[in-house]
Amino acid sequence: DTAVSQTPKYLVTQMGNDKSIKCEQNLGHDTMYWYKQDSKKFLKIMFSYNNKELIINETVPNRFSPKSPDKAHLNLHINSLELGDSAVYFCASSQGGLVRDRKNIQYFGAGTRLSVL
C-alpha cells in the first residue's frame, strides 16, 4: 500500500487552463504539505495544512489554491496555468508532535510532473 499517493503522476496541459492534483495519505498523519521542485531540482515548500487548517503559505501566487477536505487529503488546484508553473509537485505528510519526536519525519509522495505548453 502506498503511504502518500498523488494523482496524476504526469499532467500535460495548455497555458491558461485550470488543473488539480490530488494527494491522499493513509498513515493517519494530521499534517500535509505541498512542495515544488523546479527544473534545476530545487525543492521549496508551498503550503502546509494541519487538521484541515492552513498553517504555511509561502508567497505562492493566488492562482494556487490548496484544499483539504479532511486530514487525509490535500489537493492542489491551479488556475490560469503559466509556463513557469511547469515543475514536479510533491505532496508530503507528517504526524507532527513534540520537537524531540520521530513523528516530525515527512513522508513524500512520488510527485506529479506538470508540463505547461
Binding site: 531540482k41 504555511i56 524531540r100 520521530r102 510527485g111
Partner: protein
C-alpha cells in the same frame, strides 16, 4: 532565514568505495533537525537519515552515517560500500520548527551521486 548549502553539484564513486557528501547550513536556532533525502531516477523522495541537533552522537543507518558538527554548522553524509542503487540526487535539509504539529523542510540544491561499476 535559514539556508542550506551543498557545494558539490555532482560526485562520482566506484562501487564498494566510500564517499562523503558535504552540507552546511545557517541558523540562529538551537533546536532543529537535519535530514538527508535521496531522490533516485524514479523521482521518489526517500529519507536516508535524520539527526537531532541536541544529540552529539552522529546518526547511523546501516551503510549511511553523518558527521554532525553543530558549532561549524556542518552535516556531511558518508556512504560506505557504495552500491549501484545508491546512484541518486541527495538533498540535505534543515527542519524549521513552526510550532505545534507543523514544521517545514528547507532543502539544499542537491548533489548528484553516480556510483560507477
Amino acid at each position: 532565514a535559514q539556508t542550506v548549502t551543498q557545494s558539490q553539484p555532482e560526485m562520482s564513486v566506484q562501487e564498494a568505495e566510500t564517499v562523503t557528501l558535504s552540507c552546511t547550513y545557517d541558523t540562529s536556532e538551537n533546536n532543529y533537525y537535519l535530514f538527508w533525502y535521496k531522490q533516485p531516477p524514479s523521482r521518489q523522495m526517500i529519507l536516508v537519515i535524520r539527526q537531532e541537533a541536541y544529540k552529539q552522537q552522529n546518526a547511523t543507518e546501516n551503510r549511511f552515517s553523518v558527521n554532525f558538527q553543530k558549532a561549524a554548522k556542518s552535516f556531511s553524509l558518508k556512504i560506505s560500500d557504495s552500491q549501484l542503487g545508491d546512484t541518486a540526487m541527495y538533498f540535505c535539509a534543515f527542519m524549521k520548527l513552526i510550532g505545534g504539529a507543523t514544521n517545514k523542510l528547507i532543502f539544499g540544491t542537491g548533489t548528484l551521486l553516480a556510483v560507477q561499476p
